[in-house]
């Protein structure tokens, strides 16, 4: 009985560990350049500033403000993931998995805030996810040819 309870507990812990590992490995995907920069500038996204503040300046964490900034960036990027240069208007399995991972990490951030634990790690992870989304959108937009057609032509093809 004890052994079965131990197996149950450890197995569940390992299941979550592996799911997180898969998400982190997807986030480690390499791009030949930083495609997220034009997306960040065009949409005035704030996650690079959040990361810089946490990572480089070691500033005290303004929890409420950072949460709002990250959440707004997430809403913008998840909209773009679905709609920007995406003919199917559907999220890929990879994007769905990372969206779920974003929500879980955001939940972990709230729990850590309530328990007064270090909030830097989840905040940095959230910025990593947003950076990845930016790169995916940027890559997709770069690969789509808009030059030869006007905006109305493009809309008519949808």
């Amino acid at each position: 009985m004890f052994l079965a309870a131990l197996i149950l507990t450890l197995s569940m812990a390992m299941l979550f560990f592996y799911l997180q590992t898969i998400c982190l490995r997807i986030l480690r995907r390499e791009f030949d350049r930083d495609y997220s920069l034009p997306i960040v500038n065009a949409n005035r996204l704030e996650f690079p500033a959040v990361r810089k503040a946490v990572e480089e300046f070691n500033a005290p964490i303004d929890y409420a403000r950072f949460c709002m900034m990250l959440k707004c960036d997430f809403l913008a990027l998840s909209y773009l993931l679905r709609n920007a240069a995406n003919e199917n208007r559907r999220l890929s399995l990879q994007d769905r998995l990372l969206i779920v991972y974003f929500h879980l990490t955001y939940f972990a951030l709230r729990v850590r805030h309530l328990l007064r634990l270090n909030e830097k790690l989840p905040i940095l992870r959230l910025t990593s996810i947003l950076h990845f989304f930016g790169n995916v959108i940027g890559l997709r937009v770069t690969a789509t040819r808009f030059r030869d057609i006007s905006a109305s032509d493009y809309l008519l093809t949808l």
């Binding site: 079965a4 450890l10 197995s11 569940m12 898969i22 997807i26 350049r33 990361r51």
Partner: protein, 246 residues
């Protein structure tokens, strides 16, 4: 949709994904290079076919289907154990001395699990074989889960550059962790309704999760020989640093 139908649908989805992955391996000429994955997928497809046949012929509630399910489950977990062993060998490809030691250790683990399962059930008289199969499967699942975790940690410690191997191992971890938890729950609740529900939904979902991870690893992650020089990290250095290093 009732439980039996949903279980069937999930199982068929798993079979379709497995067949699809096998086709991808063949089309990309990776079936020989990743022979262990191909063998496991073929075994899984064979098991799926045997279970479907038993389900059609004898019905979900029959003892024949139950026997077929648990026997093929044993076959599957043994195939997965072979997969873990071959991944260990792949990870130790540059260190044959270590592989000799690990190979001996893995063989000992398999014999020890069979011994422990036999010993823990030796007090039971009736239905010994079926109980032994369930007990052996559970213990082997858990041992494989622990071994997979050790393998994962070993790839981190030895800085194995094969990113694809890392994802394949992670997928295997899901396949082991879910059923190990489900089997332990079945044992703890003595086959209550909750354990039945876990069996219906959880096992096929873990299977699908593993296959999708393998799909990603094989279709999106380049093999170590073709990895280009690193330029920009998608998730910044943080993502790299946040993978647990032990």
């Amino acid at each position: 949709m009732d439980q039996v139908t949903l279980s069937g649908v999930l199982s068929y989805v798993g079979i379709v994904f497995e067949a699809g992955l096998l086709v991808v391996l063949l089309r990309r000429r990776l079936a020989v290079n990743l022979w262990e994955v191909s063998v496991y997928l073929l075994t899984a497809l064979g098991v799926g076919a045997a279970r479907s046949y038993a389900l059609e012929r004898y019905g979900f509630a029959s003892s024949q289907y139950s026997n077929c399910y648990w026997t093929t489950d044993l076959l599957l977990v043994l195939a997965a154990f072979v997969l873990v062993v071959s991944f260990f060998r792949r990870a130790c490809s540059e260190n044959p001395e270590m592989w000799r030691y690990i190979g001996f250790l893995l063989g000992t683990v398999l014999v020890a699990i069979a011994g422990v399962s036999y010993f823990s059930l030796s007090i039971h008289k009736g239905g010994f074989l079926s109980l032994f199969i369930v007990e052996f499967s559970q213990n082997l699942y858990f041992a494989s889960l622990v071994l997979t975790t050790l393998l994962y940690l070993m790839t981190l410690k030895m800085a194995v550059a094969d990113e694809r191997l890392g994802l394949l191992v992670s997928g295997l971890g899901i396949e082991f962790a879910g059923p190990a938890a489900g089997l332990a729950l079945t044992y703890l609740t003595r086959g209550a309704e909750v354990a039945h529900v876990v069996g219906v939904y959880f096992f096929p979902l873990c299977d699908v999760g593993m296959i999708l991870t393998w799909f990603y690893a094989i279709s999106r992650v380049p093999s170590p020989a073709t990895v280009p020089r690193r330029k920009v990290m998608a998730g910044h250095a943080l993502a790299e640093g946040s993978v647990p290093h032990v």
